[in-house]
Amino acid sequence: MSSASELVEHYFRHEYGRLVALLASRLGVRYLELAEDVVQSALSRALTAWPRSGVPNDPSAWLYRTAKNLALDALRREQLAERVLHGQVAPIDDSTNSPEGVVQFDSEIGDETLRLLFLCCHPAIAPESRVALALKTVGGFSVSEIASGLLTTADNVERRLTRAKEKLREAKAEITELNSAEVVSRMESVLSTVYLIFNEGFFASSGDSPIRDDLCAEAIRLAQMIAGHPICGCPTVYAQVALFLMHSARLNSRLDASGTTILLADQDRSQWNWDLIREAMSWMEKSATGDLLSRYHIEAAIAWEHCRATDFAATDWRRIVQLYGTLLDRFATPMIRLNAAIASSYADGPEAGREQLLAIDAVDRKRLRPWWDCCMAQLHERAGVPAAALSHWRDALALATTSPQRQFVQSQIDRLT
């Protein structure tokens, strides 16, 4: 017996995902919801039992047994209902009741979680729903936590989850052994889901910040889990881990004490976490094999250029522009075009950057707001046209959606007026 304080941080959250994964793969994906319910109930029982009788020596096995028995009870009730409704008996899969199930538990579990993640990235599910489903079932986040992490409403998250589960049922998806063929076909979707989770946590710096940090931590945990898996580990995911760690190393210096955004140029570089950057470097070295150059490789290389510059002025903008060029050839997303334009403005002057910003069409500009307006404002200011800058800052203020954004833009307007 031990004490609750000895449980590792996020133990319940991570255990939730592991147990849902294990039960859903044993019972079948049509019972995904039942798996979630019984795991929630098992945690709730632990909440009453453990403070009174002590945390069991193997808390994971305790939770698994409890959840499994609850699931079997529910299935027996369902079978009874079936029998009453249709006058027939559906066979119950009682194989989960064998004692071996518990014994194998530890060796099996790491894989189960990844299998569930692969299920959440099933091609039938819309990409934004994959994120919600992965956070709920694999990550053990509640609907309201997901809503505040993704800056949306709980109703919206519920809808995405319902739709995702419907799609899984329609597609008759099952959790299967991870084999090379499946890993290859779904890896891209899995990695972009993990990437979206990280970006949600990293870029929209508003809402409940502990949750946003947790999203970044969850993305890193999943990426490292994939990277460490004998079949899934590949240079692309190593590069993704490197990218996440390099961004994380700079997390703390992005906001000042009042929660206002600090620009890269003004960040205190001594606050960057060099342990993380060194760890990122070793992943980067590992990723430098094979002949596939993924977006994560290029983005990690750009992040490294920022990390290695001793101060803002020492940044090798020429090299960064080159890397953005390579990235744009493959993935010309609006956000990458915006970042590439800024890099050009430092390499070749504000006018070069402004031209690239103006080349972004109206639809994409709208998706980039208020960032597009902020960048235009800065370029005008650096070109010595403060009046034009001010007008763009005012547009940005009207479009700002989060309070760090508003505080930042307001401070720029105050400075110029």
Binding site: Y11, Q40, L43, L47, W50, R52, G140
Partner: protein, 112 residues
């Protein structure tokens, strides 16, 4: 020393389930409470399932607990205290109260 029954009441209104993260927080809170009051807590008690039976006059058995009630008893503990004041102080620190839930405190009659 007088004993007091702490009765934890749950709302029967549907509300969002706590997240696993929050539950782990409650776990530490409970453990902290048991440690803080040690021997004062003579019976840590238990939770009660949301199902029940109500035996009505005339031997009629209905499914319970009282379905029309706005609250139902979700769990209990027994504490020892020199007075109601002290019992209330102990109850105030328990996770149910800290989380804003109602706790009913009743002194044992001591007939036995």
């Amino acid at each position: 020393m007088p004993k007091y029954l702490l009765i934890y009441r749950d709302s029967t209104e549907p509300r969002p389930q706590p997240s696993p993260e929050e539950m782990q927080g409650f776990l530490s809170m409970w453990e902290g409470w048991f440690q803080q009051f040690g021997k004062k807590i003579v019976d840590a008690g238990d939770g009660l399932l949301p199902t029940g039976r109500v035996l009505q006059p005339g031997g009629v058995v209905a499914d319970g607990p009282y379905v029309e009630a706005k609250e139902m008893i979700g769990g209990f503990s027994v504490v020892e205290a020199s007075s109601y004041d002290e019992a209330v102080e102990i109850a105030k620190q328990c996770p149910i109260a800290v989380m804003g839930g109602p706790v009913e405190i009743r002194e044992f009659a001591g007939y036995v």
